[in-house]
Every structure is written in structure tokens, then in C-alpha cells.
Amino acid sequence: MELKSNTPEGPLATKWEKYRGTMNLVAPNNKRRIEVIVVGTGLAGASAAATMGELGYNVKCFTFHDSPRRAHSIAAQGGINAAKNYQNDGDSVYRLFYDTVKGGDYRSRESNVHRLAEVSRNIIDQCVAQGVPFAREYGGLLANRSFGGVQVSRTFYARGQTGQQLLLGAYQALSRQISLGNVEMYNRHEMLDLVKIDGKARGIIARNLLTGKLERFAAHSVVLATGGYGNVFYLSTNAMGSNVTAAWRAVKKGALMANPCYTQIHPTCIPVSGEYQSKLTLMSESLRNDGRVWVPNKVEDAQAIQRGEKTALDIPEEERDYYLERRYPAFGNLVPRDVASRAAKVACDEGKGVSKTGLAVFLDFAAAIQRYGKSSAISKGIQNPSEDKIIELGEAVIKEKYGNLFQMYEKITADNPYKTPMKIYPAVHYTMGGMWVDYHLETNIPGLFCLGEANFSDHGANRLGASALMQGLADGYFVIPYTIGTFLSKEIRTPKIDPDAPEFMEAEKATQANLDRLINIKGNQSVESFHRRLGKIMWEYCGMSRNAEGLKKGRQMIRDLRAEFYNDVFVPGEVGEFNPELEKAGRVADFLELGEVMMMDALDRNESCGGHFREEYATPEGEAKRNDEDYAYVAAWEWDETEPRVHKEQLEFKDIELKTRSYK
């Protein structure tokens, strides 16, 4: 299969402008007759559904949640990037584009990323107009902060709840379209299959989660904005319900899953505390603006801390290793996530971890409290402030910047991070891989589009902080409303699609059989126990570092686990009722297939890049060693029960020189 990116011709900087100026449009009278299905109501889905509703399309929008506002975009903390250059610190569209391609270790598509950087500026304007209460300076203008992997301040934020505020903005825009009748909203509906007619995506089969009944929905086009698949690892920062099911069912209908092995392990999460643990909690990357990461110099000190005989405060300054500042002086604590995570693993592997399990490093705010305390004292005109006063003032500044994060940390751990350093460890957070899409965000199935974290296109092998929100809203507000027109302009003569067509009836029957199969296994092990075991295999063999031998072993283990699942899983209750265990069973079944493809993808890629670190391919200093000669391609996987197949899209870098990524 040949994968064509369909990138428009012409210079990079004007491709998008030219595309918008010359693309085919759908006239308003035709838009009224055209139906579009949007699955997912996170930043990408809600903004897409709202905007297409505004344009006049008939939109049906689906979420498995009880309300569109619950999508996991809500939990994004730190911020959203935009090339506004309000700080006059050298930012530009080109620099945001460059930082993103470099941050992704040169494994993303240039044209898509440049478009993202261009529209980033419109996103901020749009959100401000919706009433999003962004942080502001005393002069009343928008405030910015820095995130990892960049040397400018381009991140806009609303305390530590940026994702919440942006999602509520999109949710409110969506609610307005619902109230105007342009969008029909289906809550508590889970997409379980894609329906194709004559090769084109024409609808979905969804299960009404309240009644358990399957329902058929037809449209001229289907847009998936269904998020990432990090929960394949069981423990991640994703919400409990986040899943790959909608995307994976489309893959099983012929769509391709691109670069599935690119997983982002976020460096600053609250460490695992016990076997019962259901999820991990992120501490925003923004904390690395002011927090300094360190472990003790000596293994003996670390062991004393692990045994509870010493605390961070017992380790004198000269006995601490601020390893990010030491190894990467140019970026210090603000190196990108993949680099920071691996460095934490190295420190812990050396035996310098600082928790009971030995799997944690310190994130220390004492220096920032001192610095802010002193400058705050000066601005308040306090002469010769006492040490206590400095700390009091400094803590107040930290509280204003990160108060809710500190409070969350204290609630979970019962430790006070103002007084002792936080303990953090890397955890699965985001998946750069996703459905293969072209420049139009259209998959290889005509009429099937994919947005946000669910697609693969913008972040390469590693995503920079505060870029997920940017991409979700870029795709939904400013890209899909245009690019879907290229497909739909050819569909204006297509009559309303019939949800009783044979293709729909067949898909419904197959979906029903699949549900019946799960409930009739009547084995002895819980869905949860299979999920937990899968997660352990993924983390062990396809986690922060990988090698060929482990990946082969991991693949076989997943195949065995899958066979065991279909023999011995127990799903209580009935298909035709509200049954959360059955929902989970279907999602875990899909993860059991995706996991195998992730192992194969990681094995196929004989290089290290971004979040994909193969032990066999490292520099003598332990940094990732890329192989542009042989692996500058997108690996797009076609599902097959016995032997999934890879298709390749060669990446072309015309405007950026491929360089070894260095943050030293």
C-alpha cells in the first residue's frame, strides 16, 4: 500500500495559506444536507463538532462519558503553547515549528507541524474570546511560562488547570451548537465499529451504555477524536476510561496504526505506592520551571533515605547531584520529557532512588522559595528580612503559581512539598503514535478522519510539554473544518446515508456477536486482572528502554495472554443492560491486540529516537542514537490476527536539517 501524505506543493511557509485559498468548498445550502459524525468530546472532538456545527453541517457527536465535559483533556495541567511572541524573547512560527520537529526527534511530518505552529496563535485568540480565564500580568495582559525543550516563554496557562479551562471553553461552544440544533449529542454511547460502504467511512455502530443496546448511525463522513492508548500499560496518567477501542475497531476495518511504539513517559509523576494502585498522577511539567531535580551523590545516602533513616533535608548541598543541570547545562531542569525520564531511570538504576521502592527522585523547590522570597521582600520594601520572612514570602509566590498541584501532591502522599522536596518518578502519559493520517487528517479509509492524540502526525517520537492542548484545538477548531471540505465537496450529490443498509446490519450483527462472546466465556479471572498483567508485560518489555530479545518475548507473552483471556475471562451481568465490566472487557480485548503491534513496531525500529529507546542503539554517553538513513519513516501497521504488516511513509525534511538532538 502506498501512503501518500497529500501535502500541498510550494514553500513550507505558504502551503496552508495556499491550500485554504484554493481548496474546494461546500456551499451553505449543501452543508445543511451533509451529515458528519464526531466521536469523542475532548479538546479535539468538542472543538471540531462545535466548529462544524457553526459552519452549518449536521453533526452527531458521541461520548462514552455521561457528559462531554468529562473527557480526559480536562486533566491537562500546565498549559498551551502558541507562537505569539508576546514576551519579545525571539519566538516565531518558525521557532515553534523547529522546536516541535526537533523535540519529536525528527520523526514527524514537516508540513503538518508547520501548520500547527501557524494556527497556534489563533487558538489563544479564540479561547480568550470564549472567556477562558488565562493567567495575566499586573498590566492585564496574558502571562506566559516556559516548558521543557524550548528556550522561550510561549506557554499560556490557567493556574494548573489549563486543560480544564480550555475544555470547558470547547464544551460551552459545543453546548451552544447543541442548543441551536446543529449538533445532536449522544452521551453514554460507545463506538464499537466503523461502517464502510463502497470503501468509504459512512457511519458507526455504537452501544447505548444505559440500555446495552446497539444503535446504528449513518453520515457522509466520520471523525475520530478518541484520544490516546496509554492505558495499554494499565498504570498511566490517563483516566480510567481512556481507551483505544474506537480507533482500534477502525484499524480492524482497514485503517492503519502509525508508530504505535512511540509512547511518552512523563518524568514528573507521583511514584507507585502499592499493588492496589489504579492510576498514576502527574505533577505538571511547569513545576520544572522552579523545581530542581536531584538525587544523593552517594548510594549510601540514598539507601539511608530508602530505609527511612534520613530525609532530603539531611543531605548537605555538596552531597547532592543535580543531575539534569550537570548533564544538560544549556536546558538544565527543562530538558524534554524523554531525556528527563531516562535520566531519572539511570539515577535509580545506579541505586540512588529516594523512596522505599528505590524508584523516585527529588523535585526540590527550596531554591525557588528563597529566590522568590528575597525578590518579594524587595518589592514590598522589607529591609533585611529574616530567614522565616523570606520563606513565608517565597512560599506565597510558589502557592500562587502551583498551589493546586502542591495541594494535590499533599492529598495523595500526605507529605508537605513546601517543606520537603517532592518525590517523583516517570510514568506513561501520552502516546505520540496513533492512526495514520495525511495532510487532511484523513486516514487511508476515505471519509474517515482522525484528530488530536488519536492521530500520529505532529509530535514525532516525543511530544514537547504544552503541545497536546495546542494540537487538539488546532485540529478541531482550525484544521478539520477546512480539510473535511475537500472530501465532502465531492459528496454533495450523495443522498442521506441509510442506517438500515446491509453494511450497517452486518456490522451490527458482528458487534453483537462479539459482545455475546465476551459475556459467554464465563471463565474465572476478572477483566481487571488481565489488564494488570498486560500492563506489566508492556512496562517490562516496551517501556522506558527496550531491546530486541525482550520485545520478541513480550510479543509472545501478549499472544498467550490474549488466548487465555478469551478462554478464562469472567464478565458478570448481561449484554442488554448498564454493565461497566462488559465495557471494560471490550477495551481490554482491544489493548491485548494493540500491545502486540506496539512490540512489533518497537522491534522493527532498529534505532533510538525520542520516547523509543533501544538499548542496542545508544551513544557512549547513553543518549539516543538515531538512524536517519534507514528509519526516517512512519511505520503504519495493518492489523492481522496472525501477522500484522507494516507500511511505510518516507519522511522528507526540506526545511530542517537533520541533526543529532542535543540539549547540552
Binding site: S67, A158, E581
Partner: protein, 250 residues
């Protein structure tokens, strides 16, 4: 630690509910919902139906979780959602009552799961600023006083969980509605529609069957995001002003 649970079970809104006894071996570092995971795993291993409860992000922001714990929405710790409540807030041997949100406008779906779509309809009635994608001016075109934006943010932090309704003896949704009215009304972008927005949202709130506010303050006390009751005062002021002082009405 050993925890005795009295959990509300109810097949659906038409069935009669009852309290069911369970004993769970918990760990003080577990979250309250992880304790429920343990309970459900043991029920599944006995081939019984697990307790249905709503949850998703488990970091206190999505607003899904909703348990009335010993009579208090989200339990004993202030400013905390159920998912962020940890077992260290309880003692070995405690008996804990767990019930769903109780309000006419929130019918029970199953066990601890209720239907909160009334909140969506309140937002749909006017909880937005009417701006289409692409119509915005530059983000810095209007300077907004830092304190004013912060006040809007204080109100905008509402997670839509419904604890305010569950806490209120009248099952009133005033705090939820007022938080959105205050957030949008405080921002200059939201001022234009403020008058009509207040009227429409209050009207929808009444239609949904939520009760009246009698200033008990229970909503503020139980709100996991500690949204202030002063937002209700602001909404009341705006409502009276919009009904008496404006020619516009919905």
C-alpha cells in the same frame, strides 16, 4: 485496616434500593475508590455483580465521582473529591455508609450512578459566550485586571460534579449555575450576554426540578473546589437587575 461498608444498591430508578453490607481489607494509602476496586474485584471473584460507581480521571478534576460518604458528599475531607480522599482519613474498624447523590433532578441509574445531564442542559441554555471559531480578535486586545481574571477563574474551577446539589436540603443547583454565570459575567467578553444568560440559566435550572436556595451554605461547605457562595449573591443581584431593570427577557 478493616472497613465495614454499608453500600447503596439499586437496580435502576424504578427499583427499590437498599443498603448492602461488605467488609474490605484496605490500606491507609489507598484512595477511597481504590478501596472500592478491591471490593469489586472480590465481588467479581465470587461471580457477583460489582457495585456500579462513576469515576474517571481519579485526580479530582473530571467531576465524575460522586459518593455520599457518611452523609457528606465526597466524604469528610474538605475541598476533596471522592477519588482524592484516602483511607488514612478513616480508622481501622470504621463502618462507612456510601450512598448516591440524592436529588429529584438526578435520577438513579444504578447503585451509586446517577444521571446528571440536567447540568448539561443548564449550560446549553446559555452558559457560553456566543463567538464562532475565527471571529476572535487578538488575545491581548482587551487588558483584564489580574484580580478580575482570578475571580473569574475561582468560579470557573467548578468541575460539575453536583456535590452542591447533593449537599443542599432543597437539592438546589444554585451554586453550579451561579459559578458559570459569575465566571462568564466577570470576564469582559461575557458581559454582552450577561443579562439574558442569567435569566435563561435560572429558568432552565427551575425547569429541571432543582429546589430553591435558602442560604444554608451547605453547597459551599461540601464543594470539592471550594467555590464561594458569594457567586450566588452575584447571580441573584444580576437576576433581579435583569428582570426589573432590563427590557429583555427570555
Amino acid at each position: 485496616m478493616k472497613i465495614h461498608l454499608k453500600v447503596w444498591r439499586q437496580r435502576d430508578n424504578d427499583s427499590k434500593g437498599y443498603l448492602e453490607d461488605h467488609t474490605v481489607e484496605a490500606d491507609e494509602h489507598m484512595s477511597f475508590l481504590e478501596m472500592f476496586d478491591v471490593l469489586n474485584e472480590s465481588l467479581v471473584s465470587e461471580k457477583k455483580t460489582p457495585v456500579a460507581f462513576e469515576h474517571d480521571c481519579r485526580e479530582g478534576i473530571c467531576g465524575s465521582c460522586n459518593m455520599v460518604i457518611n452523609g457528606q458528599p465526597h466524604g469528610p475531607q474538605s475541598g476533596t473529591t471522592t477519588c482524592q480522599l484516602h483511607m488514612r482519613s478513616f480508622n481501622d474498624g470504621d463502618t462507612i455508609f456510601v450512598e448516591p447523590w440524592r436529588a429529584k433532578a438526578f435520577p438513579v441509574i444504578k447503585d451509586l450512578v446517577v444521571d446528571r445531564s440536567a447540568f448539561d442542559r443548564i449550560i446549553q441554555s446559555g452558559g457560553y459566550i456566543s463567538v464562532n471559531t475565527g471571529q476572535a480578535q487578538d488575545g491581548n486586545a482587551i487588558a483584564i485586571e489580574k484580580d478580575r481574571s482570578a475571580r473569574a477563574m475561582d468560579a470557573a474551577e467548578c468541575i460539575g460534579c453536583g456535590a452542591c446539589v447533593a449537599a443542599c436540603p432543597n437539592a438546589s443547583a444554585m451554586l453550579f449555575t451561579a459559578a458559570k454565570v459569575a465566571h462568564l459575567g466577570t470576564m469582559p467578553q461575557g458581559e454582552v450576554e450577561h443579562t439574558l444568560r442569567v435569566q435563561s440559566m435560572v429558568k432552565q435550572m427551575d425547569l429541571e426540578g432543582f429546589g430553591m436556595c435558602s442560604n444554608t451554605g451547605a453547597c459551599e461547605a461540601e464543594c470539592p473546589k471550594e467555590i464561594s457562595i458569594t457567586n450566588i449573591a452575584m447571580m441573584n443581584r444580576s437576576y433581579v437587575g435583569s428582570v426589573l431593570g432590563s427590557e429583555k427577557s427570555v
